[in-house]
């Protein structure tokens, strides 16, 4: 299973763009890259998922280079409510219909300041 490495913590200010990079050197061909957000006393929540290139939704963008050995979650104009732990995971459902379980790394603790 691919191991992920992220910064332990990051600080930002309201209105700034935040980029969190995750390395996953051993990612397999069939692995998706998925980011989850977790607030205190809640279960993780899906943010965004991609396989390659760039994916954008109403919450974030995900940039994945051609070699897929890393990915960057981009949060535009963060607010105080974006303070949370962000997890990068590889695995999940396979193109073949199988499933590679999700293993959580340490995550990145993002603190947004006024």
């Amino acid at each position: 299973l691919a191991k992920t490495t992220q910064p332990i913590s990051m600080d930002s200010y309201e209105g700034q763009e935040v980029n969190i990079t995750c390395s996953h050197n051993n990612i397999a061909t069939n692995d998706y890259i998925t980011w989850y957000q977790q607030f205190p006393s809640q279960g993780p929540r899906f943010i965004i998922q991609g396989y390659k290139t760039k994916v954008t939704n109403e919450v974030a963008s995900l940039f994945i280079p051609a070699d897929r050995k890393s990915s960057t979650l981009s949060l535009p104009r963060v607010s105080l409510s974006d303070t949370a732990v962000y997890y990068c995971l590889v695995g999940g459902f396979l193109f073949s219909g199988g499933y590679n379980k999700l293993i959580f790394g340490a995550g990145t603790r993002l603190a947004v300041h006024p």
Binding site: T34, G43, Y87, G92, F93, Y99, K101, F104, G105, A106
Partner: protein, 115 residues
């Protein structure tokens, strides 16, 4: 999507006792997972519980300590047996849903304190 509820939301137990945590999903799902999250830590996968088969446990977790039931496609239980203070943690269940985003949905967790 899937909406997941867990019972109890929290409990305080005495060492040596057992607690069964329930996980209910609002739709039928094949894949369910149980995680543990110790205070300030990341999530650790305990086991995968697919309906119709025995649960598959991760390294460091055994069936005698964490027996799991999966009687149907919407329900599962995790029992924490013969508890010790080291079992104090948040226990979360999740389900895997194959769809546009192939994501896992997580329950709110059960906060367990063992005295």
């Amino acid at each position: 999507s899937a909406v997941i509820s867990q019972k109890p939301s929290r409990d305080i137990c005495q060492r040596g006792t057992s607690l069964t945590i329930q996980c209910q999903v609002d739709s039928q799902v094949t894949m369910m997972f149980w995680y543990r999250q110790q205070p300030g830590q990341s999530l650790t996968l305990i086991a995968t519980a697919n309906q119709g088969s025995e649960a598959t446990y991760e390294s460091g977790f055994v069936i005698d300590k964490f027996p799991i039931s999966r009687p149907n496609l919407t329900f599962s239980t995790l029992t924490v047996s013969n508890m010790s203070p080291e079992d104090s943690s948040i226990y979360l269940c999740s389900v895997g849903v194959r769809g546009k985003y192939n994501e896992q949905f997580f329950g709110p967790g059960t906060r367990l304190t063992v005295l």
